[in-house]
């Protein structure tokens, strides 16, 4: 009887574990302990996929950045604009074969504009989102890449 009870209990544990993962996409979320979990609450500017690397990313913006990107074709973001690019590895959607959804978080890159000509990049990488110190050239390339994304059309 005892032998039967323990596997039974384990199954129950596994099942509850699964059902939780089924309701939330936990692996793709940011825990409060990262201090940057609020980046996921910005407005969406656009999203992208890299089929070779099997990653997907969403570009978020604060109100100033979003207002600007949705109304202007150039990419000269005004002072106070903040853009956050969150990149995930992709995983299959268990509810829909034919879709990939965010898996593990890979990186968070935050661009802040002090003026249209001056921006800084803060970069976190890996599952634990460790703060990186990108060299000057990388920072310039990434700021340009992130800032040059077009806002997705929303009628």
């Amino acid at each position: 009887m005892k032998n039967l009870t323990i596997p039974g209990f384990l199954t129950l544990l596994i099942l509850t574990g699964c059902s939780k993962e089924n309701s939330y996409n936990e692996s793709a979320s940011l825990s409060d302990s990262t201090k940057i979990s609020s980046v996921l609450e910005g407005k969406v500017l656009t999203s992208m996929v890299n089929t070779k690397e099997k990653t997907m990313a969403t570009l978020y913006g604060n109100d100033i950045a979003v207002e600007y990107a949705r109304n202007s074709k150039d990419h000269k973001y005004p002072a106070g604009s903040e853009l956050s690019l969150v990149t995930w590895s992709q995983k299959e959607d268990v509810h829909w074969y034919g879709a990939n959804i965010p898996g593990e978080i890979k990186s968070v890159e935050i661009v802040k504009y002090q003026s249209p000509n001056a921006a800084t990049l803060v970069c976190y990488q890996g599952k634990n989102l460790e703060l990186q110190k990108p060299d000057f050239k990388t920072a310039v390339t990434r700021i340009a890449f992130i800032s040059n994304q077009r806002a997705a059309v929303l009628p």
Partner: protein, 318 residues
């Protein structure tokens, strides 16, 4: 005492009446006819065999009923099921669907099967052959996967996206007509929070799912099954633009779809108000309010998830 006497006395009469009724209803036949097949689905032989065995009794004009399907009142239910099933998907009129819609139907059918929503439980219980084995499901999966193309987007798709973007930047949206079920367009969805993204390689679209404040609060407070009344989602879809290095960006805007939770107001439609607007003109989808049946049918495999496919990001309370 009196009634028991009645039963004993008229035992034969009662049996006779019941028997007559059972025989009588056999003449009330809704009738399942097999209209001509215009064009069957063209697929590899092993796929055809599986579809014929598991799906064709309801989803084609080649319905083959077993003897017990033909006895009323069961036959009435069978007739209704077959009629509904043919309306949703009919492999005998495959040519009536555009190639993109054929692929979409196959992916939907596959997901209904793999999530256990199809074949219907009551049908599978009596028709064992309709239940697919893991090996058969794999054959279907590899077939539909072979239909997906990952090639670089052609210039017309890129040009369409560029043109749309140029026209759009800086313009304000015009008045939008309500959906046929009376649901009004909600322009504010552009400012809602994202709860997931979906790279739909089955139909070449990128999707972002956003949620209103009530839904976001429910996420933060772990009350998402069932979702509270007022929780509203918008699923926004764009063409995917794939470049030669395999990088994908959002292209032309395709549509936006809403789910509005209200288990009183939308009791008849699974507790949700459903609506879809297509293209830059935001044309409401559906000829009449029965379009919601399509939405519910597709979402039925996730009914235990309050009909919601999306597994939201776990946004944090602050």
């Amino acid at each position: 005492m009196h009634s028991q006497n009645f039963v004993t006395k008229h035992k034969f009469l009662i049996t006779g009446v019941l028997l007559a009724a059972v025989i009588g209803i056999q003449f009330v036949r809704p009738g399942i006819e097999n209209p001509p097949v215009t064009e069957n689905i063209i697929a590899p032989h092993d796929v055809q065999v599986i579809l014929k065995k598991a799906c064709y009794d309801c989803h084609s004009n080649e319905t083959q009923l077993l003897w017990f399907d033909k006895i009323a009142p069961a036959s009435w239910m069978v007739a209704k099921d077959v009629k509904d099933a043919r309306h949703v998907l009919n492999f005998s009129h495959w040519d009536s669907l555009a190639p993109g819609d054929q692929k979409a139907k196959l992916f939907e059918a596959f997901n209904q099967i793999s999530l256990g929503a199809m074949p219907l439980k009551q049908y599978a219980a009596l028709h064992r052959e309709a239940k697919l084995s893991a090996a058969e499901i794999l054959i279907l999966k590899s077939y539909i996967t072979s239909l997906v193309s990952f090639k670089t987007s052609d210039t017309s798709l890129v040009n369409a996206a560029n043109h749309q973007y140029d026209e759009w930047t800086g313009t304000k949206s015009a008045k939008v007509k309500p959906a046929p079920n009376g649901i009004e367009y909600i322009p504010d969805f552009k400012n809602w929070k994202a709860i997931s993204t979906s790279d739909r390689f089955d139909n070449g679209t990128m999707r972002v799912i956003v949620a209103n404040d009530i839904a976001v609060k429910a996420i933060k407070e772990n009350h998402i099954n069932p979702w509270p009344n007022g929780a509203t989602f918008a699923k926004i879809a764009w063409d995917e633009l794939i470049d030669s290095t395999g990088k994908v960006q959002t292209g032309a805007f395709k549509q936006v779809e809403f789910m509005i939770k209200d288990d009183n107001k939308y009791q008849k439609t699974a507790g949700w108000g459903w609506a879809r607007w297509k293209g830059m003109q935001l044309t409401p989808y559906g000829k009449n309010e029965t379009f919601t049946q399509e939405c519910i049918n597709c979402h039925r495999p996730v009914k235990d998830n309050d009909f919601v496919f999306t597994m939201p990001l776990h946004l944090q309370p602050k």
